[in-house]
Symmetry: C4
Subunit: 382 residues, 4 copies
């Protein structure tokens, strides 16, 4: 144990998080785990097809058990390395593991191995377990920035989307009631109650249009036509909202930044977990190709920038300065940086703290801002 | 009566309007009324399902009557407190109540309790009453900014949307006529008349596609294919219009401002109802997080701002000024405010009157603008 | 004849064109003609429903003949007043009428009265004539700015939309071929040939999804799923193109400008038809509410503006000037107008010639630009 | 052979590439080849309709063989002229032909003539060959800028679109699993396995809605309704992404630029293939009408412009300069060109190298940038 154990734990943590660029073994583990998830889900899906008769095959059980074994090992590993996470620095190891066990990803991982119990102590046939097996697909969310962006986009516009739902509900209710009154006697099976008519209404308003329930009277068809046209408007609302929100989220975060990446940078190495947690949501990520402008001369901006990967060149009146990972540029909050041009000197990833959020951060965590301001290049007068 | 009655009426008005922030009792009443509406609508919907047999149950009648009682009390209360509404200040009480009774929300509330008469004097089975019972859902519109935004978005673009409808009508008519000529003899039941063919056409152009009526001849299918592709264009038009309009409306009003909120602010407390009515539509609402910029230095803007909630700090060449609810900033119309930075000092809600609309307002209600200009911070020269 | 005939013809032209604002009689004729078109189309549609038996009714024939009479009178009137049109100024009367008879709207009007011949010389039952009767709906296009905007939007993006069609065609062809190979033997009736499979493919790619033809094999369903997802992308392309184009067209032309409106303005009264024709497409239309800014101080613009209706106030360093219909402002081409603020003094409609198009116009019709530059306010130095 | 052969090869290359503007014969060949592709595909499609019996007709075989002959000749011609392509300058002829044979378009062309072998050595009935015959449609991609734009738009956003696919897959999997659990016993044929339920799920989420498989239980319909509403969100994601990307790609490249066009311009005539290859992707294309502004005075831009067709006029403080095809304007990288106005003197096509990409290019191919900088107008100080 001791130092050996600590450095091994650190190494395993880095392998699982895969945020040291260029670590080949981490890449292999990363894509290996994704493959195991995909195989496990495909097996679970195909296992429900009676004609394939997969459930009785030996290979089927073997693959299922092998996947389970991988997931169990992965889960235990992640519990073990939890204290290495920057957010849990300084906690006792057992406390860090418990804290980790209650994070959403850890819960998903746990659910992914619960069917193990089912297969050991009882029958495979429990269909409730099937859902849990398929939930393994959610393990992929950990590796995808798209899920994250969709989640953020929906959360940002949750009030507007809720309004859309309310409007949709009113539309469904109104269309269903009218159709119930009109077609009730003609088609008692299809429109004999309002809930039955609501099935038709939702099908029509979302333009899915199964055709299992359709109006047959002239008046019913007129109401149907009006419902369809209203459906186009209903369709337009969430498309407008989600589209705008999603593209803004993607514009702000064009790659995923993880806590452990940030905690490796010079300005943040010994920051306490609370300050780090406050910092994460205000860090926007941008990547630049070699030669592209990070800051154009004359741009009025009070943002603060931290280089994450690669190099940038700051062209200022007195010369050119080259900054690498951990380099901070911008200005002390309040002043501008109109006289600078900043250009990527290689393929570079840069973290941006926007002026607005810099102020919010300063009010809550003055230490973080003070540290960044002290490291900023170029120094502002006095 | 007298003073006691007046202050009680005021208190009830504030509870029902729920625009004094932080009033817990008002919150309880607010969500309680929403719950009663939802319960009442769910009961009405489920009551139409014959297999559930809810209509004969005692509980069903009891809940229905309880909901009705709540709505009646709410309606009478709202009539009673109507004179407290800023728009009806100075009216005699009975006149204010009558004026209120003709507002759209009051009409909806009245329709929500009409089925009461049906249950007292006759049979529950009248299906016409059902629609009225379900109309209660519209009572929720009072509480939702989304309905409001959709309504504004549609009204703003009503001419463009009407054009879309005309284009859609031409498309339906053309597709139906062609299909009638082609498929009339093959499928006399489905395409035997143009109105019948129009059902197919609207179903296809909106991409609902029930499939209850489909062309079977080769030529009919070619016409069908062209109709579908035209449908994509038809689909694009309202999506483009509504999407743009809806997102602009949401951007301009990111929270709901009510008359009684505005009438509580210092600059507007003793404004007459007519001036208040003129003011409301030009007030745009914006909310800001602590530290975020309300006005960026160098912005060329002639807008006028009134703080509704929270605090802002105006940074001007001579120092920093803190403004609370009712505080006005900007400049006397015509000049700019390029030298100011305004920042939210706490979570703040701010009302904005845009430069364009300030001029319109000045032409019609010079008193309002004169008052605002007199209170504006910082004072402009002379 | 002589002067009397000329002024009567002018009066009828103004009534039919309805572009003198506030002419009540013109409004009555305008909406009367629209009503006749709608009635005529509704009659033609309902006439095809056998169960209504309208065709045998006396009223049916009477209304049909009355509508026809109105259309014939309208057509002859329009032919007669054709020489009053600014584009045909100076032509002999018969030549102007012939020229008018070949415009698209005149052709539509002629087609609308062709069924007259059918009813006089033969049977009503000719179904080919039905399409012509329904084509009367297109007469409404004359009165709608939406049709016009859609037409312009589609024409602007005709190359991009053609590419979309090509992409859609490739998608249909590929999906149909694959499905034909896979499902040919299972469902020879539905997928027995590629044209048959193409019906399924177009139905699926446009997300209409009738369901009359669906794959039943596992492989067929996988191909079907891929086709559907590709359909989402196909859907996105025209929506993106039309949406952008339509909203830009509406932004540039927010009301319809007709030649006769323009030819009434002081700068254009004695312009020859050719120059007028060159001018029309470069006139963008904007309407402003009272008090709203037409030109904001500091805007760098070389546009030229002509007031069409209402009044604007030009605020320049030496004072304020009020301009009414026919007033021209902006600057001689090449200079800027940074020192002006222009504000609508009433509800105003303004025509804009953009800087880019002013140069094009100057190259082709220097006379028009010279005239406008001579009238421009304020005068630029020397 | 010798000079004669070389100049003939050059002439054939120019005819096939059709990038010398105004070459009538090239236009005829261009549209002729398109017509042959269309005829060949239509024949292949119609040949699968048994009722038409085309396969046995003599004309059918004759047309098919004629098309094949054209494609073979075209393919051989393209192989022969391959050394004329600027990218293969200086290669031995055979090497250039081999290099060409492995380009995507050459592979498509080869696949288009493979059925020849089938018809010579065996039966026409091989259905695998059918797909290859229809792949000829892809030959049209060579002539369409739309295919190219869609391809670029999809490639630019491949990560975001992949995320959409993952989200869609999660949605399909979740909906299918829930529906399988709920409807398995009621409809064992439709929902008897998860893959079967996935067919319903993908049909519903993409709003295609065939209606061949629909839920019948109350709970199933509730899940179905939630799936449909989620489908609207799924629909919104790719529409938002593709729409934005596609319109940006079209904005950047509003006409197709080919290598041979570029290699004809003075600055690029003797550039080696590698430098040319590096240049192509950074050339954005813009077309301007006569009189329109290419660069507006005061625009802060460090872009470099090369005239491709037509003429532009550069208005600088010392006068006006006219530049024709091959003319370069802008500034030496790093400085601005705020004092210039550039205007199209005729319908003009201009290539733009954006400032960002100019730097990237300078780092990799300093020779190209040095040459351009040397030709730039106006000369920057010393």
């Amino acid at each position: 144990m001791g130092m050996d154990h600590r450095s091994l734990r650190r190494r395993v943590f880095d392998l699982l998080e895969r945020d040291v660029p260029g670590d080949r073994l981490a890449d292999v583990i990363h894509f290996g785990l994704i493959a195991v998830v995909v195989v496990s889900v495909v097996i679970a899906v195909l296992g429900t097809v009676p004609s394939l008769g997969l459930r009785d095959g030996i290979a089927f059980g073997a693959i299922e058990h092998a996947c389970l074994a991988v997931f169990v090992v992965e889960y235990l590993m992640r519990l073990w390395v939890a204290p290495e996470h920057p957010l849990r620095r300084g906690m006792p190891a057992w406390k860090a593991s418990v804290a980790y066990a209650f994070t959403p990803f850890a819960v998903i991982d746990l659910l992914a191995i619960v069917p193990l119990a089912g297969s050991l102590f009882g029958s495979y046939e429990l269909h409730g377990l099937l859902v849990l097996r398929l939930m393994r697909f959610l393990k992929l969310a950990r590796y995808s920035s798209g899920f994250n962006a969709l989640f953020l986009a929906i959360r940002r516009e949750r009030y507007a989307l809720f309004s859309c739902l309310l409007i949709l509900a009113s539309g469904v209710l109104t269309a269903a009631t009218l159709m119930y009154l009109v077609e009730r006697d003609m088609q008692p099976d299809q429109f004999g109650s309002i809930p039955a008519a609501m099935w038709w209404a939702i099908t029509t308003l979302t333009t899915v249009g199964y055709g299992d329930v359709v109006p047959v009277t002239a008046l019913g068809r007129v109401i149907g036509g009006i419902t369809m046209v209203s459906g186009l408007v209903m369709l337009a609302l969430p498309i407008a909202i989600i589209a705008t929100s999603f593209s803004q989220v993607i514009a702000q975060h064009n790659f995923v930044v993880t806590l452990s990446m940030v905690s490796r940078l010079a300005p943040f190495t010994d920051l306490d977990p609370k300050a780090l947690g406050a910092l994460m949501p205000v860090l926007h990520s941008r990547s630049f190709d070699r030669g592209h402008l990070v800051v154009r001369k004359g741009e009025k901006t009070g943002h603060l920038y931290v280089v994450l990967e690669g190099y940038v060149e700051v062209e200022h009146p007195d010369g050119v300065e080259r900054l690498g990972p951990g380099g901070v540029f911008g200005v002390a909050p309040g002043a501008g940086m109109e006289h600078l041009t900043v250009r990527a000197a290689s393929k570079a990833k840069v973290l941006v703290i926007e002026e607005n959020e810099l102020h919010t951060l300063m009010a809550r965590h003055p230490v973080v801002v003070a540290r960044l301001s002290g490291m900023v290049f170029p120094k502002t007068g006095a």
